[in-house]
């Protein structure tokens, strides 16, 4: 053991260096610039009431969104962790898809569904003979909450379900046999065991909602001001860097405080658990109540998560005629391959797809490797390791505008720099994905009972072999989930990318935005078609990862039984 502990700095030195160079150095640059302008020009536009309101609303909407997401996500996690049902793989992938979609596209999907002339509204108006659309949530807090739940539900589902699958169902059964009510089992056995995973999910969802930008801007509307939106306005419109820098610091301070508290709480709750064989706890729904639960919850998830995706997919395939009818057409997809104005920036969808996939592959591999290194280095409870664990979370809680500007100031200030931008994109994506990887892998790693490792070591296994044959197989499930997330984050990332992108090497989300910058049915349709391409590719890669993982497990099983 001592040998390993001594070897640990080598593990986290690389991630620390990465963080220093690509996060703290750029951030330092932008804050230093803000501060020097503060000294030379003074702090203009400081309005305590506005800042207080922005901080208040940011925390309020993030807390409310997170609470809703977790409340809805826990039953869904239970569904995925304990039940086998038809269409489960599809549903699992579908719940993760919102994650990759640019906000403009999601807004279009919701509009097609619950906009003033959306399907649901037309349906309800027809059914109940209403004159006005009954659902009107544009530019309300409800729209923000709905979009946040839509985006982040899968974080709770995947994180908690992965932990739940690992809990030995016999523990719960034993409690039941001893006379505990199902509620008491949940309260005294299951939830305490799940608490680290729930806290991880809570933290990730909160950070996402806390720094959310597109959703607040497009779904919430101008009357809602969060710190992120205010930073954007102060930077982009007023070029008031002192105020923007101050707001970014306030945002960062809250993010540090909340992250520190949640990580600290999570650490004291670890319970080592014997790892279970995957799918051992799964079974079909039995009895009326369980069947209702499975069917009802699946239906709810489909309505909440799949219907908006279907709505935007329909807009890529169906064209509304002037008479009001709809007809099927592949025009929008065909048009993607044409460049009628012979624009120099035209990029065929296949190329945009290739760019996105390459970036995503590089970013997720990098994030996974770095995340593993931090998790291994930080799993011991030394103070330094706890610090590192905490620092890694910060990029997720940092304003994308600030971070994008920081990268530009740090690495974009030379004439040859634009050539290097494409390299910075996967690095920035990896920084944003790293917290996910860490929050998924670390709880899994810490739940491994130490006696397993000791037993292996006693039997003469080298630390490397203990890692390869004990720890790695156990955390493989968490690692695969982490990889999928990192991949999805990179595919969908827009904020930092828009600062670093080069017009000849766009990613898919950038291409979607480009189409939507002009009016016209064709532009809108092509944006939707591009989004569908993004959805299909992402769904395919997730199926692939889920399948690979499954087949790997089955291979392991057959080997063990042989």
């Amino acid at each position: 053991m001592n040998r390993r502990r001594a070897g640990r700095p080598a593990l986290w030195l690389l991630p620390l260096a990465f963080l220093l160079v690509f996060y703290f150095y750029p951030l330092g640059r932008v804050l230093a610039l803000s501060f020097s302008q503060w000294v030379s020009k003074g702090l203009a536009g400081w309005n305590w009431a506005v800042v207080r309101d922005a901080v208040g609303f940011t925390l309020y909407q993030a807390a409310l969104s997170t609470l809703l997401t977790v409340l809805l996500g826990l039953p869904a996690a239970y569904l995925f962790a304990r039940f086998q049902f038809r269409g489960k793989e599809f549903l699992r992938v579908a719940t993760t898809l919102p994650f990759i979609l640019p906000t403009v596209v999601v807004a279009a999907g919701f509009n097609a569904l619950i906009g003033p002339r959306g399907w649901l509204n037309l349906l309800l108006m027809g059914a109940f003979h209403l004159a006005q659309p009954p659902i009107a949530i544009q530019n309300t807090l409800a729209a923000i909450l709905l979009a946040h739940v839509f985006y982040n539900l899968s974080i709770v589902i995947r994180t908690v379900a992965a932990a739940w699958e690992g809990i030995d169902a016999r523990l719960e059964n034993a409690a039941r046999t001893l006379g505990a009510s199902p509620f008491r089992v949940l309260h005294e056995v299951t939830l305490p065991l799940l608490r680290p995973a729930i806290l991880s999910a809570l933290l990730l969802v909160f950070l996402f909602d806390f720094t959310s930008f597109g959703v607040i801007l497009m779904m919430g509307g101008p009357q809602f001001t969060t710190l992120e939106v205010e930073i954007y306005i102060q930077t982009m419109q007023f070029l008031n860097l002192p105020l923007a820098g101050l707001l970014a610091l306030i945002q960062l301070a809250f993010c540090m405080l909340i992250t520190g508290t949640l990580i600290g709480t999570g650490r004291s709750m670890d319970v080592p658990l014997m790892p279970r064989v995957r799918q051992e706890n799964l079974r079909g729904a039995r009895g009326f109540t369980e069947k209702i639960f499975v069917v009802g919850l699946s239906a709810f998830l489909i309505i909440l998560l799949v219907l908006p995706l279907l709505a935007l997919t329909a807009q890529a395939f169906f064209i509304q005629s002037e008479a009001g009818g709809w007809h099927f057409s592949l025009t929008f997809f065909r048009q993607l391959f044409l460049n009628p104005r012979s624009s120099i920036f035209y990029v065929p969808p296949i190329t945009a797809l290739r760019n996105s996939l390459l970036y995503a592959l590089a970013a997720s591999s990098l994030a996974l490797v770095l995340g593993m290194l931090v998790a291994l280095g930080a799993s011991s409870n030394s103070r330094l390791n706890r610090w590192l664990d905490w620092l890694v979370m910060l990029p997720l809680g940092t304003s994308a505008v600030t971070f994008g500007l920081a990268l530009f100031l740090a690495f974009g200030m030379s004439v040859s720099a634009p050539r290097w931008y494409p390299l910075l994109i996967p690095l920035a994506h990896a920084l944003i994905a790293l917290p996910f990887v860490l929050r998924l892998i670390e709880p899994a790693l810490r739940s491994i009972p130490p006696n397993l490792k000791w037993a292996a070591a006693t039997l003469g296994a080298s630390p490397r072999r203990v890692w390869r044959e004990v720890e790695l197989p156990i955390i493989r499930r968490a690692a695969a989930t982490a990889f999928v997330y990192a991949f999805a984050i990179s595919l969908g990332e827009f904020g930092a990318t828009s600062f670093l992108t080069r017009p000849d090497i766009p990613t898919l989300p950038i291409a979607v935005y480009r189409y939507l910058s002009l009016p016209g049915t064709l532009n809108f349709g092509q944006a939707m078609a591009m989004a569908v391409v993004l959805l299909v590719v992402c769904a395919a890669s997730m199926f692939l990862v889920d399948r690979l993982q499954l087949s790997f497990n089955i291979k392991e099983e057959t080997r063990k039984h042989a």
Binding site: G45, G115, T235, R341, F345, S365, V415, P503, G520, F524
Partner: protein, 345 residues
Amino acid sequence: MKKYLLLGVMILAVALCACKAEPAALTVMTHDSFVVSDDVIAQFEKENNVKVNFLLSGDAGSALNRAILSKDAPVADVLYGVDNTFLSRALDEGVYEAYASPLLSRIPDEFKLDPQNRALPVDYGDVCINYEKAYFQQHNLAIPQSFEDLTKPEYTGMLVTENPATSSTGLAFLLATIAEYGPDGYLGYWQRLKDNGLVVVNDWNTAYYTNFSGSTGKGAQPMVVSYGTSPAVEVVYAEKKLDESPTASLVGRNMCFRQIEFVGILKGTKQRALAEKFVDFMLDKAFQEDIPMNMFMFPANSNAALPREFTDYVQVPEQPAALAPEAIGQNRDSWIEAWRQLILQ
């Protein structure tokens, strides 16, 4: 894990090779809406034996901000796309070098807002209210002729505009109302608009594609603050051929704000001669005639011919709103703040 690491390194290596060193290069910083035909730019590159790189840096405001932040070590040689709403910030910050291009003689004086020729006009266009023709026909509604008309009860809840703090069209529309009512009267007008059910969203995308009834989004408002050329774009990018645009613009007195876009040579460029050639190229006929159908703006050069789509479908306001760039520069932030206090409270 090693496999992943190797994979990552390989991908980085491939990406590295993809951006191999290029010969004599000119870098043009511009906004995301910049588009040009490949043959037009290829001609310039061939004649001058240069490779032109474009840095699309967000909207016009953020492109300028990046030029300002990097002015001690400029990342580009030419900056195109600063418009009259941001012109005074660009001039005050001193990002440009003056260049009196010989082609300025072909550009009407009304566009030359910088007498020192640091910023040279390239193109212009109007931000106007678009309306859905079918809606007004079906409901037998008269077309509003003035700002004042928009406050009448028959148009309650029918207009969507953008937040001037987050959108350039929103800012242009705000400036048009200031040109009409003056710095002391515009807030009173906005109060009346607000009382008449004005809808405000943050970005043009949402306004046009979610709120506007004339777009694919089928929203609730039949009037939207967009561009004077949007009706033509609707025809050009229609899914099937249209004889008539589904939308049109309100072009009453002062109702449209005229945006003029400028190009300038960035201070500290090491390619002054090439940069001059590029500015000339942008003001010359080939590029100027390429502007309308790519960026949907009007060429500033009066010798450039307009495409049929522009002459057929774009209404040109007789008296567009105009404000001096200095006045905009001095007051823009406080005008926006006052507007935010009034409208968003």
